[in-house]
């Protein structure tokens, strides 16, 4: 039995553990007390992290398919074919897109970006989770500028006040829930803001009930209450105070909001935990900015051990952003139109970067003729999953590099098997900005090889300079492309967990608070559609291959899907009684967009008038929701 110190592939907490191997086969997981994030504590996902690589449906050799035929080929043949077909599309003036992934390493994402911009000459590069976290990051940037001050997990455990806007932290980020529990043990005050009564709300000393789509009312109520305290924020905050007072003039200040504002203002150390949500982008951006403003005027943006932490779902969301795997950013998450950044990357890559702006994944999936997809299944991540799958089926040439045979890989014209996190070296960046190592402990099955190697060979076929003999070479180049990563490089030579922090180049921090205009929000309900239907959550682990291929984890997630194959809607007992709906029976939901029939589940913790559909079942109710995550509905017995 041998062990390799590695980083968990699931969520963006970035826990570390030892992956165990016996006779060449993955055998299990052992905790490591010295890991700075997890300190020996792992969640259920971490404890079963070895399973998906072992039980997963894996391809052993590159495979080409088309005209009803499938053919296993050598790597050279596969890569020549892929490069040839992509060049044909380029020469024919057809558009191509590239998707990186929040479950791929930094090295894989970096090379995917390089292939897109330097090789395929397109800015159509994105990753499937970006549309979900984009508005959150943008809203924080509106106030904080380019460098969002982030707290460390250790700050959470030692903070005095925690404002937790949550989906269900205990489920989405158990390691963070653990830090919150330790803070409570140290006497911290927990304030939760959520739609449902969850495990964390039961532990809170104050719970602010929000209505889906109208959470801005609560956030701006807190901001208004903070302004009422006479807080004008520290000197480093550039604030248009008059405009803000005017903007918040009519906002309702509840007794709870006043109490919370006082607690936050009084606290020396406070952290704000803010999750990514799905739905209307403007609303999300405004809400995120609202939290940042609250943190700024209460002085918690520059104080040590205080700050904001955007809660990201998958392991390498931050890394994918930092590698520039998004349409308008270069490595370092620097704006594409920043001349200095452009010049640096052009010099390094030896190629001119394309000028035409790129589309986001949701748009370019509908329009591209060629797609290179790295380690992801967009349909299981994007808010409109089925629409993405339909679009991908129509793509002329689809190349998928993945560890697992996902639904996307099965329809690909070129299927390129790559190594899993247990079989390759690399780095991933957790949500704090900690760059940590992933280490190979076994060999990939058959001829599968490291994703960085496959992408490097594709880059070579597009005459992009660069030669790498290991993932470390790629990481070295990342440090040149993204100066923020240059300082993290020394850790790659060390034999430990890694864990260097991404650096902020300039020490000076300044924040800007501007009025964003109207804060009033239209409620989606009406006399004709009196119930509020909302999506619950913004990511579904149950459809992630790391879960579906793990026998232990899949059992828990699959059970729900098996019970409700056609979808489920959750509502409170009083609503069910009024509507004469019974558990397991069908209900018809009708909105201005359309109607659907789904099964009923009664929940004891729901507010009357609000119905929830778990994110996993979003496609079942898409006809009713339209493009948003909330809608007014009429409910009938079906």
């Amino acid at each position: 039995m041998s062990a390799a110190a590695t980083t968990c592939p699931f969520c963006a907490c970035g826990c570390g553990f030892y992956l165990l191997q016996r006779k060449g086969q993955l055998a299990g997981v052992a905790p490591g007390e010295t890991h700075p994030v997890s300190e020996g504590r792992l969640c259920a996902r971490g404890w079963s992290a070895h399973e998906a690589s072992l039980w997963g449906d894996r391809l052993r050799q590159p495979l080409l398919q088309g005209n009803g035929k499938q053919q296993s080929v050598s790597w050279a043949e596969a890569l020549d074919h892929v490069a040839g077909r992509l060049k044909e599309l380029m020469n024919a003036g057809k558009s191509i897109g590239v998707l990186g992934s929040s479950r791929a390493t930094n090295e894989e994402n970096y090379l995917a970006g390089k292939l897109a911009r330097a090789g395929l000459q397109t800015n159509n590069i994105d990753f499937s989770y970006y549309p979900i976290c984009y508005s959150l990051l943008l809203g924080l940037e509106d106030v904080c500028g380019e460098h969002i001050p982030s707290v460390h997990f250790s700050d959470i455990a030692s903070s005095q006040v925690i404002l937790l806007a949550e989906g269900n932290l205990a489920e989405t980020h158990p390691q963070l829930a653990s830090a919150v529990m330790r803070a409570l043990g140290n006497g911290a005050e927990l304030i939760t803001l959520s739609y449902k009564k969850t495990q964390m709300t039961r532990l809170s000393s104050l719970h602010l009930q929000a209505t889906p789509g109208l959470e801005g009312e609560v956030i701006h109520g807190l901001l208004a209450a903070a302004l009422d305290l006479g807080l004008q924020g520290p000197a480093y905050v550039d604030i248009d105070y008059e405009a803000l007072v005017r903007e918040l003039h009519s906002v309702k200040r509840t007794k709870e909001a006043r109490q919370v504002a006082k607690s936050i203002a009084r606290a020396e150390r406070a952290v704000f935990l803010i999750p990514a949500t799905s739905g209307n982008a403007d609303r999300q951006r405004r809400n995120a900015a609202g939290f940042a403003k609250l943190a700024a005027i209460t002085g918690h943006l520059t104080r040590p051990s205080s700050g904001l932490l955007p809660l990201l779902a998958r392991s390498n969301v931050r890394g994918a952003c930092d590698m520039g795997v998004v349409p308008d950013r270069l490595p370092g998450y620097e704006p594409l139109d920043n001349p200095r950044s452009r010049d640096r990357v052009q010099d390094l890559w030896g190629k001119k970067l394309p000028l035409a702006s790129g589309l986001s994944v949701q748009s370019f999936l509908q329009s591209v003729s060629g797609l290179v997809l790295v380690a992801d299944n967009p349909a299981s991540v994007l808010p409109m999953g089925q629409r993405a799958m339909d679009a991908m089926k129509a793509i002329e040439f689809l190349v998928v590099l993945d560890v697992f045979k996902t639904p996307a890989m099965r329809i690909a014209h070129a299927q390129l098997p790559i190594a899993s996190f247990a079989e390759t070296n690399g780095t991933i960046t957790n949500m704090e900005g900690r760059v940590q190592r992933v280490r190979a402990v076994t060999n990939p099955p058959g001829e599968a090889r490291g994703g960085w190697r496959v992408l490097a060979e594709l880059c070579a076929r597009f005459d992009i300079p660069g030669s790498y003999s290991s993932a470390t070479d790629v990481f070295h180049e990342i440090g040149q492309a993204a100066p923020r990563y240059a300082g993290t490089e020394r850790m790659s030579s060390q034999d430990t967990w890694g864990g260097a922090q991404v650096e902020h180049p300039d020490g000076a921090k300044s924040f800007v608070i501007r009025s964003t205009g109207a804060t009033e929000m239209a409620t989606p309900t009406s006399a004709e559609h009196p119930y509020l239907l909302a999506l619950d959550g913004a990511f579904d682990w149950g459809n992630d291959p790391l879960v579906t291929f793990s026998p232990t984890l899949n059992r828990d997630y699959r059970s729900e899907g098996k019970l409700f194959p056609g979808g489920v809607v959750e509502l409170g007992q009083s609503d069910a009684d009024a509507l004469k709906l019974r558990p397991g029976r069908p209900a018809r939901l009708i909105s201005v967009h359309g109607e659907v029939v789904v099964s009923v589940r009664i929940k004891t913790d729901l507010k009357p008038g609000v119905l929830f559909v778990p994110y996993a079942f979003r496609d079942c109710v898409r006809n009713v929701l339209g493009t948003d995550s909330v809608a007014g509905v009429k409910v009938e017995c079906a």
């Binding site: 030892y18 905790p31 020996g40 404890w47 390691q175 034999d495 232990t552």
Partner: protein, 346 residues
């Protein structure tokens, strides 16, 4: 008869054992953790150290344990048991872990005996190290599993400074010592007295506030733990299953086949009674759908008089690992204390 071996000679003994089979001992990883690992040279063994966080349980009951090879043969299948009869020496294991393996072995010996497990445990020689001072989180004294052992070891070493006292507890232990008879001599009377004094001192070093199983057992065995308390406690559990995985006495498992295309390996996998679908039935019914019910079940199994009568001990060896790995706050001493006081601390 107690023996003694010079501190310097232990390395020689381990070198001999390495020629006979796998030697498993605490090893320092490059990251600085201690991990029970297969050692390749006697120098790798870390002697003066805390107890590793991950127990050596995986060497008798692996997290992924291949049991049977299944091969399709025409209309039928051929079954071939997978033997792991490797001779192993578990070196510098603490009293709690030795006791844990003895607990697991008793369980797997029960009818129907588990041949796969027993093949491993029969070939395992446990060379334990008595604890001369309590570890930071341990409460073995409450679970009758330490700091020194009277049983459950093959050889028990006690650190006397320049020498180790070596007590032989079984024929397997005798065989291991007989491999290098020249390294051992009979212990002196003074050495035996020192060992006794060290044990008494170690016992004295445990504080008052430990894990009061007796009190919890009376309440839990007679259904006198209020449901509201289970519910309250369950809000502090994050269902990670870590308490099960690091517990030297937990053995729950599920079964899953690995492979395809006509050949499968039937594997036993570690499982956790705290996972919601652990007891999910095919009909969709789950007798322990709520977290509080699963917690109640776990602690009934660990602490009740009903199981004490069957197992002869509580299902806990007081190693304290659950305190360190619990993502929430519902480790053994916390729950036992809450049951005893009828109140969850907050």
């Amino acid at each position: 008869m107690a023996l003694a071996i010079e501190r310097k000679a232990v390395t020689k003994w381990v070198e001999r054992l390495l020629e006979l089979g796998e030697v498993i001992a605490p090893v320092r990883t490059p990251c600085g953790d201690l991990l029970f690992s297969i050692v390749h040279s006697a120098e790798e063994v870390v002697w003066d150290s805390a107890n590793p966080l991950h127990p050596p349980k995986a060497f008798v009951l692996p997290q992924t344990d291949p049991l049977v090879k299944i091969t399709r043969n025409g209309q039928g299948v051929e079954l071939e048991p997978i033997h792991d009869g490797a001779r192993r020496f578990l070196v510098n294991v603490r009293s709690c872990d030795a006791k844990g393996i003895a607990f697991l072995t008793r369980m797997h010996e029960m009818d129907p005996a588990d041949a796969s497990y027993l093949r491993r445990s029969d070939n395992l020689t446990i060379i334990s190290m008595a604890c001369i001072s309590p570890c930071a989180v341990g409460f073995c004294i409450c679970a009758d599993s330490g700091p020194f052992l009277n049983d459950s070891y093959d050889v028990q070493l006690t650190d006397l400074g320049e020498t180790y006292l070596a007590e032989v507890g079984s024929a397997k232990g005798q065989a291991a010592v007989a491999e290098e008879p020249n390294l051992f001599r009979n212990a002196t009377e003074e050495e035996v007295i020192r060992r006794k004094n060290l044990e008494a001192a170690a016992r004295n070093h445990f504080g008052e506030e430990n894990c009061h199983f007796g009190s919890a057992m009376r309440r839990i065995s007679t259904g006198r733990v209020p449901d509201a308390l289970w519910e309250k406690m369950s809000d502090w559990c994050l269902e990670c299953g870590a308490c099960n995985f690091v517990c030297p006495t937990c053995y729950c498992f599920s079964v899953k086949d690995l492979g395809g295309n006509g050949t499968w390996t039937r594997c036993r996998l570690w499982d956790s009674c705290q996972y919601s679908a652990f007891t999910l039935e095919a009909s969709g019914h789950n007798p322990r759908a709520q977290r509080k019910d699963r917690m109640k079940r776990r602690f009934f199994h660990k602490v009740s008089a009903q199981y004490y009568a069957r197992d002869g001990m509580v299902g806990c060896v007081g190693c304290g690992r659950c305190i360190k790995v619990c993502l929430g706050a519902t480790h053994m001493p916390a729950v036992v204390s809450a049951i005893r006081k009828g109140k969850w601390h907050e």
